[in-house]
């Protein structure tokens, strides 16, 4: 194309710029971009070109779906690490005002926020002129039932199962986001001047005897503070670690669950659950993804076949005229 322009210029009176080169013309640049002639690819979706896509989707999705489905169904065997959850239903932890009723600054150990919590915590900000630590509705409504699991032995004796408290919260939450107020004093000193949330029995520095799991970095507390996305949810309560490779973590047998009932749920017509589960590479048991993959893969494959037929018929019917139109 550039050639043509040059040829034209010659006919029409020399190059656009006189030899001096000083004359400024308003002639636009003849570049591919400015003339909108960039090399381009113009795909058109027709049965012929699209066919492979559908088959590929089908061929990829169906195996994936089967894989997920199988994995998900295998989860029931209680082997490996067993996760102990408590579940609540109809508890709207995602309520707009509830979600905001916290002070991350305070939870992060900011001394000023500790004594002067954010306004977002209202009306759980101060109690009897003392700042509440941790403030806000979320902390106030923390789940405080205690669950204990026992294996019923041969002689009906109860053998307690070791439930691990640590490692149930996100590492970053425990180590970065949640921090106790700074200092080397005992926790009680560091929380001095604050008061416990209204609903709590004990102040925050007495949640656990272990210094590493006490105060704001108590993992039960951290888990609760990570508000659930949906009204029916479960939260990780304890870990049951496998002892060795040979035995299942929880062998078949009778178990005894001891619940210390503290947490009322009738106000929101809720239910409480305890779930024991293992986790595969893709999380807990949920057959949905597998089924979805298989379904979509199949549909896609089917559509591919339909298009194949269409393409075949179309080509036959239109080969008398030109193919493209």
């Amino acid at each position: 194309m550039a050639m043509n322009y040059n040829a034209k210029d010659e006919v029409d009176g020399g190059p656009p710029c006189p030899p001096g080169g000083t004359a400024k013309t308003r002639r636009p640049d003849n570049t591919a971009f400015k003339q909108q002639r960039l090399p381009a690819w113009q795909p058109i979706l027709t049965a012929g070109t699209v066919l492979p896509t559908f088959f590929i989707i089908g061929l990829i999705f169906i195996p994936i779906g089967i894989g997920i489905f199988v994995t998900s169904n295998n989860i029931r065997e209680i082997e490996g690490n067993v996760f102990m959850y408590y579940g609540l239903s109809n508890f709207y932890q995602n309520h707009r005002r509830y979600v905001k009723s916290r002070d991350d600054g305070q939870l992060n150990g900011d001394p000023s926020a500790l004594l002067n919590p954010s306004k977002e915590c209202e009306p759980y900000r101060r109690n009897e002129d003392k700042p509440i630590a941790p403030c806000g509705a979320i902390a106030n409504s923390m789940f405080n039932d205690t669950l204990e699991l026992f294996q019923v032995g041969n002689a009906s004796d109860l053998m307690p199962i070791t439930l691990k408290k640590k490692g149930i919260a996100w590492w970053t939450d425990k180590n970065v986001k949640f921090r106790n107020p700074p200092g080397t004093d005992p926790l009680e000193e560091r929380f001095k001047g604050t008061t416990k949330p209204v609903n709590w029995v004990k102040p925050v520095y007495m949640l656990d005897s272990d210094e590493d799991n006490n105060g704001f970095i108590n993992e039960d507390f951290i888990v609760w503070m990570r508000t659930a996305a949906l009204p029916t949810f479960r939260k990780l309560y304890r870990l049951i670690e496998r002892k060795n490779d040979l035995h299942p973590t929880l062998p078949a047998g009778r178990y005894y669950l001891n619940i210390t009932y503290n947490y009322p749920v009738h106000s929101f017509d809720g239910r409480k659950r305890m779930i024991l589960s293992t986790i595969s590479w893709m999380g807990g048991k949920n057959p949905f993804l597998g089924i979805a993959y298989i379904t979509i893969g199949s549909i896609s494959f089917l559509l591919g076949v339909v298009l194949l037929v269409i393409n075949h018929k179309y080509r036959n019917s239109s080969n008398t005229a030109d193919i493209t139109i």
Binding site: R26, R96, D104, A229, P231, S267, F268, I325
Partner: protein, 1431 residues
């Protein structure tokens, strides 16, 4: 003095401005100066100052409804009960939007400020009493009442009343190019009483008081008077006012007093800002925004009600129901209401906040590409398209009606003298016609040309070589013209005051206009006439046998004198020739005389000169040809005035050879011979500066017959006669041309006879009515002769008009001294009056211009612009109805219409010319009935859902059987239609018409018609024109296009787009219009989709959070999503996407119809995309929901995959919408996606507590290490897009829309593509019409030009053959190369239509004859139908 000052101040109150000299007050305190109340000369076009920018800009931006809406929502968000987001954060988007706009505004304002500063600090000379001389001052320091001295080529700093000019006659010349683009010089006169100054003007002696109008914006209206110290008054008008921004030319020094300054100058008052129009897409968009508001309200209502219901299910307050700060809970209803407002805040993005900004940016991009299109660039004027309205680019793609001016728009407005009739004798000027065709013909196809000429004019064969010489010579001339330095300061600045000093140029004097080849027959008679004039000087009474000769002499004298043409030289600065040039002969060098002798000798030897006295002009020209140095010099100058005498010299001498020369006067002595060339040496340097092209053409024509206008002053005109003698006429009065009178007159005193003669020139219809009544004649012989002359002249005029020539009648009248004196005093009275001066002047003109004697008439050709027929054909094919509205005569207009293929020979043409309403009604009924018979009724409902052209719905009978219909009406008929309320019928008839031609329209009627079509048919209209008379039409239409041609800049100033050539319209509409429309339309639809799709996600979540207005996505991410991650791809899409390539669009104009029918963006596409958006958002929400149901997922961890999925879906959706993928598209899409991850990762890693109270800390990182996330992200977009993908595939496979077919054609290799396009076109226009009968219908001929030629029947003339090939060309011209290589294809048309009218006639009748035999319904030729309907 003090008392006087007080009086002044009092008088300031009324409607006058009083100005006195500042010098009187220079030593006094400032407050004593009565002029101090007037504003200074400083201009300020910038809107803001540093301090006022922020408040003022924000205030202005809030006038936009959208901005106001979003600010309102932000304010709502600050109410604690309602806030859905952190209030501080929710301010961000609107701030960014406002900031982007503010930055744009600030940048524009800064540019204005800078240019203001440059202008304000320009320097000029102001008189200072202290220095007793003129001192340098800045423009901004000039005050009202200052005396300013201006030099040649200086720009005038303010509106100044001219008091002194170095020109002895008190004239100062102005170039107003900066004001109106007109490059011809205008005269300004010193105020009366100041003109006779021998010495330099003394400002200190100026004690007069000037009283004039308050500042107003009428450029050409100004009046006032000057009160002398002795209480006498002198009036003055706009002819003494020097306007700011103009340039002084041809005058060494001018002095004046400042009257208006700065913003009060007429130029500044005239300078309105850019125009704001709302495009159709924007109007439709606003409608859909209301739909969105409806959806939004519905959602919010659901939220409010849901919230109430949900709250009602609890008997006591659950722990997650947080009371307010005081521990109180809201009552249910109030809670619901608050929730409603909260939901509005939450879902606000449903109304796309960034859509307006995005559209503006996209349009800027589109305008950028428009500006940069090489095809819309005109080399000659060095102008590309100018987009003056930035916001209606997409309307270019939806035009249904084009209203076009004829002169200067379809035609070049380069007037060429073609033929004339004198005293009833027609002089056809065959040679001249030949010459007009030659140069271009030679360039394109010389061989065929020769062949053609031999066939049609065997008699001319012997002259062939001579003609060829002439042609050969004119080639380099053409070249020099096209290579000339670009001129015409079409400055695009807003301010009139800003002007660059542009090179002066002379309008209306291209070579084609200058050279006129005289008619041999007439030439001989002219000699007679000239001789007769000579005899006058001898004092002898003219012989009666020489009556014709005298008329001819009069005719040419009238051509030469009766105009306002200025004579100047080409030297820089242009000097006006005001002295008779005889004195210049002294300067002739010896060398030249020697050369002349040499040549004389040679020619007398080699050529058979029968006379000793050759024409001076002739000699001069041949002399000129022999002096290469002068010649090349002039060519280097690049001046258009370096006339073609060198080229024509050879040609003319060969003409003389034929022995056509008569005997020259016996008194031709050697002296005269010597002097003559000297005179003509000066001659070629003469430049004619005309106000209108017609005038220039006539003067050049007279020049060709050796009646040369040598000089002109307001008082005197000097004409050189063929014999070389110069006659100086005293100009007693000049009645300028105006559009009401349609004529101009000059009153001169004949130097030889002493008679007072009125020469009048004007439109034939006017002049014919003003002629003296032959019945009054005493002599019956004379009476008979006069009647005969009038009848014959009228016949010739009709003939000219049929040929598309512009006609002017020339008449004269001899006044007696007594009559003139009476009239002159009357005239003076009228001039002096201040009040109803215009009416009085008009009256005096009418008193003078009557009882005229007809001398003759001229036919001037206005050549069709290059590529006009091709463009019109393409636009027509694109389904655009083209109407031509012109002030010209009906015959002229009809013929131009045929020439540019607006009408076809086979068309049925209805002409309606009536003033009577009833007649008009019955004609309309008749025509409608007949048309309906042929075409079948129109499809109903067209008026409601966008008007569809009848051609789009072909009648159920056989496709092309019915002939197309054309309609011709005139201005009177339109009046009848409007008065008789016949608009409906008229419009109904026009809807059947292929084209409508409106003649004799006034500017007001033009705009009335445009408004009628725009409002009644609700059609998209476009007006295109070039002159001041088109301004109202341009402003009335949806899109106004101005052609920056020769007639000044008024049209351009009022237009939305300015192009330099009519043919640019083709690419502008068919390619850019289509692109802009389809890009923007699809972008808007996409934007709606995008926002609805995304916002719905939040809505679905409300069902799972107790309708509490909670979001699962962090607010920052929400903002980023809309502002950054998904905003760039639609922008790129809107600027760069091409659904169909330029070549295909040009080759298949039919594709334009998709824009006319609003196929890309209408109610259906909007709701389909809405439905799709809801579906996709459902998928994007519920697949993650089902996946994460009953797990320990937290809010943001749940939201992140949803966010990711919807981003992927939205971007992939965009990818499917894109028809063209360039590297930019790919990069932007991929970049957006990657940026999302990068920003999210960074934000989620850094923000531990930054966004209190909720932080998405480490969420993204957590998700990226979770396989489920990938599985969900992989699955969901596939599910969401599968239906659309499948649907698009089916559409792509089975779809029959032209757009889709064109896309498929685009993908083919080049050679195959052309084949496909041709077969498409042939199918589009089935060849039912046999080629012999209708040569014009071979539009879609599948054969190439070569093979077609071989199949052409032998009986067609070569001209027609060429003409056919042109028809085949459009198919091939699809590619840029072809268009470029064949620039003259359009011109063969002009030739065909105008030059070879003799050839055309038979073919036309033949066509019509066969038409009639083929179709009983057809009305055949245009003339036949006209007679049947004209009443």
């Amino acid at each position: 003095m003090r008392k006087e000052g007080k009086k002044r101040r009092k008088r300031k109150e009324d409607k006058k401005r009083v100005v006195v000299s500042n010098l009187l007050f220079e030593r006094w305190a400032h407050k004593e100066n009565p002029n101090r109340h007037y504003r200074g000369n400083q201009i300020k076009t910038s809107k803001y100052t540093v301090l006022s920018f922020i408040p003022k800009n924000i205030f202005e931006q809030l006038h936009r409804f959208a901005n106001f809406y979003f600010v309102g929502i932000v304010v709502l968000n600050f109410i604690p009960v309602l806030n859905a987001f952190q209030p501080e954060v929710s301010v961000i988007p609107i701030c960014i939007i406002l900031a982007v706009t503010a930055i744009k505004d600030a940048w524009e304002d800064l540019r204005r400020y800078k240019s203001d500063k440059v202008i304000n600090s320009r320097e000029c000379l102001v008189y200072s009493r202290k220095e007793q001389s003129y001192v340098q001052k800045c423009w901004k320091d000039v005050r009202v009442g200052d005396f300013i001295q201006m030099q040649c080529n200086e720009i005038i700093p303010a509106d100044i009343l001219l008091l002194f000019s170095s020109d002895p006659s008190g004239v100062c010349h102005l170039e107003t190019a900066n004001l109106d683009g007109e490059t011809n010089l205008k005269q300004r006169r010193v105020v009366k009483g100041f003109s006779q100054q021998e010495v330099q003007f003394q400002p200190e002696h100026f004690h007069n008081t000037i009283v004039c109008e308050k500042p107003n914006n009428h450029l050409n209206k100004f009046k006032g008077y000057m009160e002398h110290p002795d209480q006498t008054r002198t009036g003055f008008g706009s002819e003494s006012l020097l306007l700011r921004g103009c340039t002084i030319r041809n005058t060494e020094v001018a002095v004046g007093i400042v009257i208006y300054t700065g913003h009060e100058t007429k130029a500044m008052l005239n300078n309105s800002g850019p125009r704001y129009k709302r495009s159709q897409i924007e109007r439709r968009m606003n409608r859909d925004i209301f739909s969105c508001i409806g959806i939004l309200f519905l959602m919010c209502l659901i939220g409010a009600v849901g919230h109430g219901l949900w709250n009602g299910t609890f008997t006591e307050h659950p722990p997650f129901d947080v009371p307010d700060a005081k521990g109180n809970y809201l009552p249910l209803a109030l809670g619901g209401f608050y929730m409603f407002l909260t939901m509005i805040i939450l879902l606000q993005i449903l109304i796309p906040i960034s859509l307006y900004v995005s559209i503006e940016l996209v349009k800027l991009g589109q305008v950028f590409f428009l500006h940069n299109d090489l095809d819309l660039y005109d080399e000659e004027t060095d102008l590309s398209i100018q987009c003056r309205a930035l916001n209606i680019t997409e309307d270019l793609g939806q035009i249904q009606y084009i209203f076009s001016d004829k002169t200067g728009t379809l035609t070049e407005n380069k007037m060429v003298f073609r033929r004339c009739t004198i005293m009833g004798h027609e002089y056809s000027h065959q040679e001249n016609a030949k010459r007009l065709e030659t140069p271009k013909e030679l360039d394109s196809d010389s061989e065929e040309w020769t062949q053609y000429r031999c066939l049609s004019f065997p008699a001319r064969r012997d002259q062939g070589p001579a003609a060829m010489r002439g042609q050969g010579g004119s080639q380099p001339l053409r070249r020099s013209q096209s290579a000339r330095v670009p001129i015409q300061g079409h400055s695009r600045q807003r301010s009139m005051g800003r002007c660059e000093i542009s090179q002066p140029s002379v309008a209306f004097s291209s070579s084609i206009e200058k050279d006129v080849t005289p008619d041999k027959n007439l030439l001989s008679k002219v000699r007679d006439g000239a001789l007769w004039l000579e005899t006058l000087s001898d004092g002898r009474t003219p012989k009666p046998s020489l009556a014709t000769a005298s008329s001819i002499a009069d005719f040419f004298l009238a051509l030469t004198i009766c105009n306002s043409v200025m004579v100047s030289t080409t030297t820089e600065p242009r000097q006006r020739v005001t002295m008779p040039p005889s004195t210049k002969a002294l300067g002739t060098s010896l060398e030249k005389i020697q050369q002349l002798f040499h040549r004389l000798k040679l020619s007398s030897l080699s050529q058979s000169f029968s006379s000793t006295a050759p024409s001076d002009m002739d000699l001069g020209e041949s002399l000129g040809a022999n002096i290469p140095t002068t010649d090349s010099e002039e060519r280097d100058d690049g001046s258009v005035c370096s006339g073609g005498y060198s080229t024509d010299g050879g040609y003319k001498s060969s003409t003389w050879e034929q022995g056509d020369i008569l005997e020259a006067g016996p008194g031709a002595s050697l002296e005269e011979v010597l002097q003559a060339p000297a005179l003509s040496l000066a001659g070629p340097e003469l430049c004619y500066e005309a106000e209108s092209p017609d005038e220039a053409a006539l003067v050049h024509a007279a020049h060709a017959y050796s009646f040369t206008l040598v000089s002109r002053t307001p008082e005197q005109v000097t004409v050189r006669l063929p014999q070389g003698t110069c006659l100086t006429f005293d100009v007693l009065c000049t009645l300028e041309f105006d559009s009401v009178r349609k004529r101009m007159s000059v009153v001169v005193r004949h130097p030889l006879t002493g008679e007072i003669i009125v020469y009048t020139k004007g439109a034939d219809c006017v002049i014919m009515d003003l002629l003296e009544d032959p019945g009054c004649m005493t002599d019956s012989d004379v009476e008979k002769k006069m009647r005969k002359i009038r009848a014959r002249t009228q016949r010739h005029l009709d003939l000219y008009a049929r040929d598309g020539l512009r006609t002017l009648c020339i008449a004269k009248k001899v006044l007696s001294e007594e009559d003139f004196r009476r009239w002159a005093s009357f005239r003076r009275e009228a001039e002096a009056s201040l009040n109803n001066r215009d009416e009085l002047l008009m009256e005096t003109a009418q008193h003078l211009e009557n009882q005229l004697t007809l001398l003759g008439a001229t036919g001037i050709e206005d050549r069709l612009q290059e590529g006009v027929p091709d463009t019109i054909a393409a636009l027509r094919e694109a389904g655009i109805q083209l109407w031509v509205l012109t002030g010209d005569k009906q015959e002229t207009a009809v013929n131009i219409a045929y020439a540019c293929r607006l009408l076809d020979q086979t068309d049925t043409v209805y002409s309606i010319n009536t003033e009577n309403q009833e007649t008009c009604d019955s004609i309309l009924n008749l025509a409608l009935e007949e048309v309906k018979q042929c075409h079948g009724p129109l499809k109903p409902g067209g008026k409601l859902s966008g008007f569809r052209l009848p051609s789009a719905t072909p009648p159920p009978t056989s496709g092309a059987a019915a002939p197309d219909v054309g309609l011709v009406i005139d201005g009177k008929t339109l009046n009848a239609i409007f008065q008789g309320k016949l608009e409906e019928k008229f419009l109904e008839l026009t809807r059947y018409c292929r084209s409508v031609l409106c003649c004799r329209f006034t500017p007001l009627q033009k705009s009335m018609l445009v408004k009628l079509v725009r409002d009644r048919l609700r059609a998209m209209t476009l007006s295109i024109g070039d002159g001041a008379n088109d301004v109202s039409m341009i402003q009335a239409a949806d899109i106004g296009i101005g052609i920056s041609g020769q007639e000044g800049m008024q049209a351009v100033m009022s237009s939305d787009f300015a192009i330099s050539r009519f043919r640019h319209l083709k690419k502008l509409l068919l390619v850019h219009g289509h692109w802009c429309y389809s890009r923007l339309a699809r972008m808007v639809v996409y934007y709606f989709y995008k926002n609805v799709c995304y916002v719905s996600l939040l809505f679905w979540y409300q069902f799972f959070c107790g309708f509490s207005g909670s979001t699962m996505i962090d607010y920052w991410q929400l903002i980023f999503f809309n502002l950054f991650f998904t905003s760039l791809p639609p922008l790129v899409f809107g600027v760069l996407d091409k659904d169909i390539s330029m070549e295909t669009l040009l080759a298949l104009p039919e594709l334009y119809k998709s824009g006319q029918n609003s196929e890309c963006y209408n109610l259906l596409t909007f709701w389909i995309s809405m439905a799709d958006a809801f579906y996709q958002s459902l998928v994007c929400f519920f697949i993650p929901y089902l996946t994460y149901k009953d797990s320990d997922i937290d809010v943001f961890t749940f939201g992140t995959p949803i966010n990711t999925i919807s981003l992927a879906t939205i971007l992939l959706h965009q990818a499917m919408e894109m028809k063209t993928w360039t590297i930019i598209h790919g990069l932007v899409l991929a970049g957006s996606f990657l940026m999302y991850f990068a920003v999210s990762l960074a934000y989620n890693a850094i923000c531990v507590t930054c966004n209190s109270p909720t932080n998405p800390y480490w969420v993204m990182e957590g998700q990226l290490s979770d396989p489920t996330f990938y599985l969900v992200c992989f699955l969901t977009p596939a599910v969401a897009l599968l239906p659309r993908y499948f649907f698009l595939t089916l559409q792509g496979t089975y779809g029959k829309s032209p757009i889709l077919r064109a896309q498929k054609i685009d993908r083919l290799p080049v050679d195959k593509r052309e084949l496909e396009i041709q077969s498409w076109r042939s199918r589009q226009r089935p060849a039912t019409i046999p080629g012999e009968a209708h040569p014009t219908n071979h539009l879609g001929s599948p054969t190439s030009g070569q093979s077609f030629r071989s199949s052409t029947p032998k009986n067609l003339s070569p001209a027609e053959r060429r003409y056919k090939e042109d028809w085949v060309l459009p198919g091939e011209r699809c590619s840029r190369d072809h268009t470029r290589d064949d620039p003259y294809s359009g011109d063969s048309w002009a030739k065909f239509s105008s030059g070879e009218h003799l050839l055309l006639e038979p073919s036309r009748t033949m066509a019509s004859g066969q038409t009639n035999s083929n179709w009983p319904f057809s009305r055949g030729s245009h003339r036949r139908s006209q007679s049947s309907l004209t009443i």
